[in-house]
Amino acid sequence: MIQQGGGALGIGEIPIGPTWQTNYFIGADAQGRDVMARVLYGGRASLEIGIGSALICCGIALVLALLAGFFRGPIDALLSRLMDLIWAFPVYLLAISLATVLLTKPNGLQWGFVHVDPSSLWVPTAIIALVYVPYVFRPVRGQVLSVREKEYVEAAIAQGASNGRLMFGEILPNVITTVIVMLPLMIATTVLTESALSFLSIGVQPPKASWGTIIDDGQSLLYTRPWVAIAPGIMIVLTVLSLNVLGDGVRDALDPRAKLRMRG
């Protein structure tokens, strides 16, 4: 990654600006790295985290919502209060708090055999997934509560179906649409959140890059080489825009009345 001697830097030396050619298409960053190449690679991390965290988030929220809505009573109360708690944190504050803590565990986290390195993409992925769980949990839980009262669930109980079968065989198929509708919008949201966290240096850790980290790098180069910051931003806008359009489409197709409150 290091362009030794490639990027001219410092006093009296001219930084590489956009060449609009194959090499250094939009210039080099402070370490002389080709920004275009970084933007393309960064997109991979951004999308991996965005899609990964949205999937994890929806998965966790779905399971929790099924548990809460199905068992009701104390389990529901506990989970719902927990969600209230996460919900009550300002999203970025919670994400920043968690990221700061995780990233400052210098040797990473160790749970049994699972070792998470602070520079792993899993850290931002998990954090972003966690903070958005209530956003999915709430509507899905409401649905589970209503589906659970349906006679076909009673019918399954009368047949002696197990709880797992009731939750996953009977209720899940009826609430999954909501999640599918939410998914593209969730990805749009998580991509934006990832970029924000990385922009604040607490998302993707170097040497890995994401669009957010490149904008962060570009912040100090803003007046001299604005393209370093502008290019990844445009990529984010395009990606999120497409996801939003896709989300609208999915929603119209599957659930014309769903109004989702998604936010970046």
Binding site: I2, Q4, Q219
Partner: protein, 580 residues
């Protein structure tokens, strides 16, 4: 002689490692003056020692990203950022000469009428207090105030160096143990205007220590708890505002009259303000647009803008060399770098010009292979880890030799964590070394830690950091400050967050030489320096570090600032600049 205060010209957060103060003998100071002057001339825009008598008036607007960390209390604060204000609002008994250039490391009498010669084998210092000097609150300075000041230093309980420096005063150790009942009647004896300090043990650094803001004289009755704004002082300015999330501000002290212009000259601006909160990028733009006059050294100017600055704003840029070395420390006690050949290999392979480029280019840093920075007593250029060794200068990496050494060391393929902090530049260093180590056949991964955490983390041997970024700024020119503190056996404390010997390096033979140099140095500085030169060379051969470069400091001032003066001790002398 005294030396530079130590703030790495970058961010303010982790000032700790930069604030390194150690006393040196007066003779060493003299040596520095010579060295520093020489160094200063080499640098393109080093400000001379001749103050241009600028016009008085106006407000000098400075900016910093954040307020000085720690406490605003002058007896607790430990940052250059605040000290640059404190030296013009308060006085000690003695002071560093308030001029730019090498002269600035000389001690001159301040509140005292003269610099005393220690008697009683260095145990007694007798000062005479000038009479008629008033605090900004109108009270006259008395010897009781001086005694009160030193007692307060202990009573406050949290003064960083009370227990390491000022405990030399008789009774000081007891004060450290029970701050509340501190009594220095034994150590500070008042007789009329005479103040006699009795030390418990000889301390050649005592005069420097009392020239620092910890020992600046405060009025009797100042509460013995941390203050939220420095109290009344004797300097040409007084504190009017200290809002840590907004700004700090000093204005003229109407009670001030010049008594010794070497120690405390009259200031030019009517008021000096430091505003907080902007990113350094925005600060640079503000200076360019004339909205801010100067950026505090705690903020480092992005290297990408240096080109713009040096071409478009050349007359507003001032560059001065620092007594500092930036390095990566090997952990000499764990594999792979407990192997000398492996350490040397990395040293050979390191392209120091790349690192210099990351830092800001050859005008802001000079490659080095050794521990001591240029201008340091005992410094002799020495660089074995280059393509054409011999000249003492680094000229280029020797990759072939490096690869050969790695192969010979048998450490190839080992995993190495490269530790650095999250500052852009330091991160880039880390990234560079990850690439380099991988090229040499190691399995290197980066580990970047928040600035606040990285330094204590890498010091603690428990964390087993194999390769870590750090830097060291001399506070005054003494070879022991670098060699003994950073690489002496005594400064390695296992499992402690405060163990400045990051390399965990301990070589009995070298240590004996260092001890010898310290003893000899009390009597014969020249001879001691010779020993230090030898130690520097031997340590460099042992390669506990990859010494990267010696940095210079860049100050960027607005167009209207006239008469920029730069002291090695206090850096930019705020009050000597004219904004009218």
């Amino acid at each position: 002689m005294g030396g530079g205060t130590a703030i790495k010209p970058r961010e303010g957060m982790d000032f700790v490692r930069r604030s390194v103060f150690l006393g040196v003998s007066t003779m060493l100071v003299v040596a520095l003056v010579a060295g520093c002057g020489g160094g200063g001339k080499k640098s393109s825009k080093t400000t001379g020692a001749t103050p241009s008598a600028g016009a008085k008036g106006g407000t000098l607007i400075t900016r910093a990203n954040a307020a000085p960390s720690g406490s605003p209390d002058p007896q607790v604060n430990y940052t250059l950022q605040e000290w640059q204000f404190l030296i013009i609002t308060h006085d000690g008994l003695v002071a560093f000469k308030r001029v730019g250039g090498a002269e600035g490391t000389k001690l001159v009498p301040d509140l005292a009428t003269a610099i005393p010669t220690p008697t009683d084998n260095g145990l007694t210092y007798k000062f005479t207090l000038r009479s008629g000097i008033k605090f900004s609150n109108g009270k006259t300075v008395t010897p009781q105030d001086v005694k009160y000041t030193f007692e307060r230093l202990f009573k406050i309980g949290t003064s960083p160096n009370a227990g390491t420096w000022y405990n030399a005063i008789k009774g000081g150790d007891a004060c450290v143990k029970t701050p509340k009942t501190c009594d220095l009647s034994q150590g500070i004896v008042i007789n009329g205007n005479d103040i006699t300090f009795h030390l418990a043990k000889p301390d050649p650094e005592f005069l420097f220590q009392i020239a620092l803001p910890f020992a600046f004289v405060l009025p009797s009755g100042t509460p013995n708890k941390q203050l939220n704004i420095p109290p009344a002082g004797t300097g040409p300015y007084k504190w009017v505002q200290y809002a840590p999330n907004k700004q700090m501000m000093i204005t003229r002290n109407p009670n001030f009259k010049v008594w010794n212009k070497d120690a405390q000259p009259e200031g030019l601006p009517d008021s000096i303000v430091q505003k907080f909160g902007l990113s350094v990028e925005a600060e640079v733009t503000q200076v360019e647009n004339g909205q801010t006059d100067w950026i505090a050294n705690a903020d480092s100017i992005p290297s990408d803008r240096l080109n713009e600055l040096s071409s478009k704003y050349a007359s507003q840029v001032h560059i001065n060399p620092l007594l500092a070395t930036w390095y990566f420390a090997f952990n000499t006690r764990i594999p792979p770098f407990n192997n000398l050949k492996a350490r040397q290999a990395v040293n050979y392979a390191t392209d120091r010009s790349s690192l210099v480029k990351i830092y800001g280019g050859p005008k802001l840093a000079i490659p080095t292979c050794q521990v001591l920075p240029p201008n340091m007593p005992g410094y002799k250029p020495y660089c074995p880890y280059t393509v054409n060794p011999g000249s003492g200068k680094w000229t280029g990496p020797d990759m072939a030799k490096a690869q050969q050494l790695v192969a010979a060391s048998g450490t190839k393929g080992m995993a190495v964590k490269v530790n650095s902090d999250t500052t852009d530049v330091d991160k880039a260093f880390g990234t560079y070394f990850v690439g380099l180590l991988n090229k040499l056949g190691y399995k290197a991964t980066p580990q970047f830690l928040s600035n606040d955490i990285q330094y204590p983390f890498i010091q603690n041997s428990k964390n087993k950091v194999p390769f870590a970024f750090s830097d060291w700024f001399a506070d005054y020119p003494a070879a022991s400050d670098f060699l003994n503190i950073l690489l002496g056996c005594g400064s390695f404390h296992p499992n402690s967050n405060s163990s400045p010997n990051i390399a965990e390096f301990c070589n009995k033979g070298i240590q004996a030489k260092m001890d010898n140099a310290a003893t000899v140095g009390v009597k014969n500085v020249q001879q001691a320096n010779g020993i230090w030169t030898q130690v520097d060379k031997e340590v460099t051969d042992q390669a506990p570090w990859v010494a990267m470069f010696n940095p210079k400091l860049l100050d960027f001032v607005s167009k209207r600032v006239k008469g920029f003066q730069w002291s090695p001790q206090w850096y930019f002398l705020l009050d000597q600049a004219s904004v009218k």
